[in-house]
Subunit: 381 residues, 2 copies
């Protein structure tokens, strides 16, 4: 597989179907990169390790595009949206009628929930998983069905399927792959079989916010399925690997008929002009993905080394965060970490004696590792 | 009334209730301002007079804030949102639990429609008016009731009321004030009486996107009503007077109970960081509103002078656009204008031999006026 092609499209030049991910970190020089623009960890000097952001900051190309774009910031962003659709269509090798944009991937999740809401609707999702889908379902009469992850921290597709099939109305099956907050992947094969046999009332909402970080060869993107299946929406974001969490751009990939069904729920005049020009520029930065993956891998090695030394269990991570044991009460731990200058992740029931730790720059993670050692000396973990 | 206070808050220092607008243009030096950043009319050199944008471009303060904000564009915008709420709360003199933010005022309209959708719901609006509210209602079973404007081009509140009262379910009454595309205001007194007598099922959605341009002393903002009435949402935007159409920030003002009802329909992690810092900075630019009003008034005088010379009827404008007769078929007219380098407004049925013309810079409007004269010579208008 030609490396640059993979980095650019995530689908490789060899054709879309049957793709498996290639180990990225192994082929990128394992050294620390300096932050491109010295992005501050946070406004108050606390190192922010709580929201799975990319500590490298915007691509230089994105930054330049934003500054150049300021002269047109007084104009509605219709032309910008067109440019984003064109760039994504090239990037994915799919015609643009398979795509829709949102103010972050969270808007893709919102419109998917709203478009499938209705009498007798069910929402089937893992516990723990990312909370936005249940959150957006609140105003609607969904029946919520949560299914614990397997012992291997994968989605329990068999049990999710049997729960989904108990309903007779519209059903949303939300699969965050890799899963937030646990960081592991779920193999796509059993989901694929289910997709093929399920009716159009069952929407498979596959959230691939972190897919660029994956090096598990069992992983596949679900994008190829949208060509034939109107009951699949794949969710992608510029917030993570592209470091654009603050400027809000995500996209959905789906069958054109599904895109048309979703369209009236989206907010008009998105994406914003500056996110649009930044996204188009970021897709031209051929080193951005490899650079982010390499920095993340270096940071992750530092943290897992410390966790191994301390005998604290952690889940193998295919993402830019690590779920690890803290052997203490989460709120107390979080407050102590804040006092030490680190903001770490929120509670994810039922894993309330575990912490979701986002990767910062390697030097920050080295300090974090020292802080963990210090906590052990104080018998706090 | 102390002038700067009015410009800053739109509510004046004398207390919120009973406020009438002050003629703004009359108190601002009537000269052309150069564009602050030479914003391009559009990417392809066509002068864009079709979307009611502010031709002056971003405030210098907003531009600086965006450039300074790039270092944090990789972080989720939670802190930025807090700063916007604080700035708007100060600006309006209302506690922040009366406010909610959206990606442009269009998101405020979207969530309002979605939160009031339900069996037997009615949507009552003028014809012609801004199309986003009917557009967002499409996926829901609203009964649409359109009510023509009065002969004075005001909302026909009496008839809207009798139509609304025919329903028994939730009802949205959309009043764009001043109205887009006709540009005139509707006095608030009869709406106020109705609001007080209507039940909570009737939502008054008052769109004040253009309120800063108004100098008709009969005009009042509806914001004071939200303190006591949970069935009023006032819609405001940074797209028009603040020239931020490309970067998407609007806000809703409502009773705290209504804000809570609306909240689960909004997209999470908005506003985007760059729009947020630009908005906060724009509110500190004490000359921005007066500058925009003055340039708009100068442009409008140029255009109305030409329309008077040509004997083409136009509606008195309290906004940054003018609805005027073209005495020809709209599509043909628009194509001819595009050939002459001007993009002008879309069709607004039933006024299909009228054109909605947005104000550009005065020098562009002088060229536009010459083009109109040329069209007359060709017998095209």
């Amino acid at each position: 597989m030609e490396r640059r092609s993979f980095l650019r499209t995530g689908l490789a030049g060899v054709g879309v179907a049957g793709l498996t991910a290639t180990p990225l970190a192994a082929t990128v020089a394992p050294r620390a990169f300096a932050p491109i623009f010295n992005p501050r960890a946070s406004a108050d000097g606390v190192v922010k390790l709580s929201s799975n952001e990319n500590p490298l900051g915007l691509s230089p190309a994105a930054r330049d595009a934003i500054v150049n774009g300021l002269d047109e910031a007084n104009r509605y962003p219709g032309n910008t949206g067109d440019a984003v659709y064109t760039a994504l269509s090239d990037f994915l090798g799919l015609s643009r009628d398979h795509l829709f944009l949102g103010a972050g991937s969270t808007e893709i999740l919102r419109v998917s929930v709203q478009a499938w809401a209705g009498p007798g609707a069910r929402l089937v999702y893992a516990q723990p998983t990312f909370e936005d889908v249940p959150s957006y379902s609140r105003p609607f009469p969904f029946e919520h069905v949560t299914v614990p992850l397997t012992d291997d921290h994968e989605h329990d597709i068999g049990r999710m399927r049997s729960e989904a099939e108990k309903g007779s109305g519209p059903t949303i099956v939300y699969v965050c792959n890799p899963n937030n907050p646990t960081g592991g992947i779920t193999p796509v094969a059993p989901i694929e079989s289910w997709m093929k046999e399920a009716g159009e009332q069952t929407l498979f909402l596959i959230d691939e916010a972190y897919f660029e970080f994956v090096d598990d060869p069992r992983y596949r993107t679900a994008i190829p399925f949208v060509k034939d299946m109107p009951n699949v929406i794949v969710v992608r974001t510029f917030s993570k690997i592209y470091a654009m969490a603050g400027i809000r751009l995500g996209y959905g990939v789906a069958h054109p008929s599904t895109v048309r069904r979703i369209a009236p729920f989206t907010t008009r005049n998105n994406p914003n002009h500056l996110a649009g020009v930044a996204a188009v520029a970021s897709l031209t930065d051929s080193e951005l993905v490899g650079r982010s993956v390499a920095v993340n891998a270096e940071a992750r090695d530092l943290v897992t080394g410390a966790l191994d030394d301390l005998g604290l269990e952690y889940l193998p991570s295919q993402t830019n965060f690590i779920m690890h044991q803290i052997r203490s009460e989460l709120l107390t731990y979080n407050n102590r970490m804040m006092d030490a200058g680190f903001s770490v992740g929120r509670p994810f029931p039922p894993m309330l004696d575990w912490s979701r730790l986002s990767m910062g720059m390697p030097e920050d993670m080295a300090r974090f590792a020292e802080t963990l050692m210090d906590f052990r000396k104080k018998d706090w973990i």
